[in-house]
Amino acid sequence: MAISEGTTIIGESFLVNGSLNGDEDLTVRGRIEGTLTLTKTLVVEPTGVVKAEVQVKSCVISGAVIGNLTATESVEITKEGRMIGDISAPRVIIVDGASFRGRIDMGEINVEGAERPALARASSRPALRPPPRAAIGRSEDDEEAEESAALAERASAAVKPPPVPVAMGAVKRKVIVRRK
């Protein structure tokens, strides 16, 4: 990670206990305990631990943060980031792999007009019925033509719900097919 000039860095072996205020970017590789107030960006690197009430403009967490975090712009928890505490920020990004426990407050949210996607579960649920007889019958008859059997299999596979619990009749029929 490139560190620009004027960035404050708290090194890996450092522990800052108390309050920290500033108007510039801060990169934490060590530990900070207490309160942390910045008007710029806080970057907590993977080795960094912040146990503090944090108030910043924006924040990128790749290390550990314990405490409440208020950002005027955004908070991002990367895949290495761990956080326990409440977040209050208009933009909160939590990527896959990040760990977080706490509450998030993104401020006023207009819920009206934003329609909830309908539950598509019922329609997408695989049918309990066995696959169409035609497919099975064909594979039973044309034993010699393997490609047609394969075709039928593919066709039936397209319709057949793969691992769903099958009705008794379907199981029986399957057994017959295997006997050939």
Binding site: E5, G6, T7, T8, I9, I10, G11, E12, S13, F14, L15, V16, N17, G18, S19, L20, N21, G22, D23, E24, L26, R29, G30, G34
Partner: protein, 121 residues
């Protein structure tokens, strides 16, 4: 005094992993095992194993306990260094200094007592 605009003086010291920038104010304790460069303000206590550099924009109101100290800024508080304390020309220091080696440059402003007793601490 440095304003917020003219920050980041060209002093990227090699080996210094930690830097407290000009606009940063820390009220509390700092401890660590690496070199520390301070351009901002620190109040409280500083405990280091290595060297502390207080740059000309740095303001410290704290007791300092380190290996080496190099002061170009302002320090109010007692300094205890295991090896060396160096007060540069532009610095202002008020407090007691205890270290086996103490260097005070021409132009440095210092008020306090000096103790070079090696066996002390």
């Amino acid at each position: 005094m440095a304003t917020g605009i003219e920050k980041a003086p060209p002093v990227p010291r090699s080996g210094a992993h930690t830097l407290i920038g000009t606009s940063i104010v820390i009220d509390g304790e700092i401890s660590g095992d690496e070199d520390l460069v301070i351009q901002g303000t620190v109040k409280g206590k500083i405990t280091l194993k290595e060297s502390l550099f207080v740059e000309s924009s740095g303001v410290i109101e704290a007791d300092i306990e380190t290996g080496n100290v190099e002061v170009s800024g302002q320090v109010t508080g007692n300094i205890v260094a295991r090896e060396k304390v160096e007060l540069k020309a532009e610095c202002k220091v008020a407090g007691d200094i205890r270290s086996p080696r103490i260097l005070i440059a021409d132009g440095a402003v210092f008020k306090g007592s000096v103790d070079m007793d090696v066996k002390g601490k």
